[in-house]
């Protein structure tokens, strides 16, 4: 299994192929629908983003509140497709990785190739398990959005799988075909 460290570099991204299982460590930023709307509005207005976007990895998650003594509550992925309309603009600005679940649209898949990025899947509905890999969590922007605020997370060996790579690979179609042809 390949180990990845944030920020992601073009060299590392070139190595990744859809279907690869990876362990990601480092800093990731959470963002869901409402945060995406604000991020894109900010960049289009020429404003400053609340985190360095070059090489950054976004995790589409709205965690549950942490119990006392815990770093975070449950923290699994939300459906990525809802972020599709915002994603190409962020990729254009240097975003390199996205973590979520579910298929991306044509435009995002093209932008992933054009801007040399990667779309990674985390297991949907495994939020209690994934939370164990989160070592630190802090709200860095939009606290008024509650669970949709942007958190900076420090993750250690977050288990992920490459869904869309820069070569046009797509695990959803490939995985299904592989299963149907071996059945």
């Amino acid at each position: 299994m390949q180990r990845l460290q944030t920020p992601l570099t073009p060299e590392v991204i070139m190595e990744l192929r859809s279907g690869d299982q990876v362990l990601l460590s480092g800093t990731v930023y959470t963002a869901r629908d409402a945060a995406h709307a604000r991020l894109v509005k900010t960049v289009l207005a020429g404003g400053e983003l609340p985190f360095p976007i070059e090489g950054a990895v976004l995790y589409y998650v709205g965690p549950t509140p942490a119990r006392p003594g815990k770093v975070i509550g449950s923290a699994g992925p939300t459906t990525s497709g809802r972020m599709d309309s915002y994603t190409p603009e962020l990729l254009r600005r240097g975003l390199k990785g996205m973590i979520g679940k579910g298929a991306r649209n044509q435009e995002v898949r093209q932008a992933i190739r054009a801007y040399q990025a990667v779309y990674l899947g985390a297991t949907g509905g495994a939020g209690a398990l994934l939370a164990q890999r989160v070592k630190a969590a802090e709200v860095i922007a939009y606290p008024e959005l509650g669970p949709e605020a942007i958190f900076r997370l420090e993750v250690d060996e977050l288990p992920l799988i490459v869904i869309n790579d820069i070569y046009g690979g797509d695990l959803y179609s490939q995985g299904r075909q592989a299963y149907l042809s071996c059945r």
């Binding site: 549950t64 459906t79 509905g125 299904r176 299963y179």
Partner: protein, 289 residues
């Protein structure tokens, strides 16, 4: 407490009691799977032969175990609080509004349980209400003097891929199957398969959607009591699992763990069909007052 009204005994249930029960339901439902789920998951882990898919199902089982052991919600989407109340007609709720009592229970349960607030008060303005209220409440009046309260925390992922169609009666069972399979195709891996598929057939436009939701309350894997419907459930389960979508959508034989159908009488010109999907994190608790 009971009193006589026109010769019948009426049982009084304080609204506070409803609040306490709903709070308790919230504190239980989010950390464990619905009745029957662990068993169908175990069967799926057994029968799945595609390596990646098998690994994923085991991961989901491990997640459920961690959730229970550590009191972490099984999924971070602790959902809309769907509350279905079977209200005995010999019951009178006293000391406050039934609906507000339920909301108060949700408010308390979601806060104390470290559950996520996932509700916006207005669909256009989209401001989070901050306490996961309001609950989404349906009341069914039933015979007797008991109150049975179901809580189904329902995530948005699987709610968003749910659909309804008003078919022509001529389309019949084939039309129903086509619509269900098309819905599964569109859902793909987006809503955390393996799914439990709730289906409503018949009734009205709105009633059919509710039948589909109600179908999710049945213990998972239990067949409909009408034989022709139970057969259709079996046929649909086989057809859905033939699609090859698989756990998480990465391919496999376990796209759905169960298909539950509920039916209702309908108009001579109508054949409504609704599909309300649940992800593998199907949560449902029930308590009786």
């Amino acid at each position: 407490m009971k009193f006589q009204w026109e010769g019948r005994a009426i049982r009084q249930v304080p609204a506070e009691k409803i609040t306490a029960v709903v709070r308790e339901l919230c504190l239980e439902a989010n950390y464990r799977l619905a009745l029957g789920m662990p068993e169908v998951m175990a069967e799926a882990a057994q029968s799945e032969n595609f390596p990646m898919a098998k690994e994923i199902i085991k991961e989901l089982q491990a997640n459920a175990e961690i959730a229970w052991a550590e009191s972490q919600p099984i999924c971070q989407d602790t959902g809309m609080a769907i509350v279905i109340i079977e209200l005995g007609q010999e019951v009178q709720i006293t000391g406050g509004s039934l609906y507000l009592a339920v909301d108060e229970g949700v408010r308390q349960g979601y806060e104390e349980g470290y559950l996520r607030n996932s509700i916006v008060g207005d669909p256009i303005l989209r401001r989070n209400t901050g306490d996961n209220t309001p609950a989404f409440i349906r009341v069914e009046i039933v015979p007797g003097d008991k109150v049975r309260i179901h809580l189904l925390p329902k995530g948005s992922g699987s709610e968003n891929v749910s659909r309804l169609a008003m078919l022509k009666p001529a389309q019949g069972v084939e039309g129903i199957k086509d619509f269900v399979l098309e819905t599964m195709e569109l859902a793909g891996g987006n809503a955390c398969p393996p799914y439990v598929v709730g289906i409503g057939i018949g009734g009205t436009f709105d009633g059919c959607a509710y039948l589909a939701k109600r179908a999710l309350l049945r213990p998972v894997g239990e067949a409909n009591s009408a034989q022709h419907i139970a057969m259709l459930e079996g046929e649909l389960l086989t057809a859905i699992n033939g699609l090859g979508i698989g756990p998480q959508g990465f391919g496999g034989s376990q796209t759905a763990l169960a298909v539950h159908i509920e039916t209702a009488p309908t108009h001579i010109a109508c054949l409504p069909v609704a599909v309300n999907l649940s992800c593998h994190v199907l949560r449902h608790e029930v308590l009786e007052v």
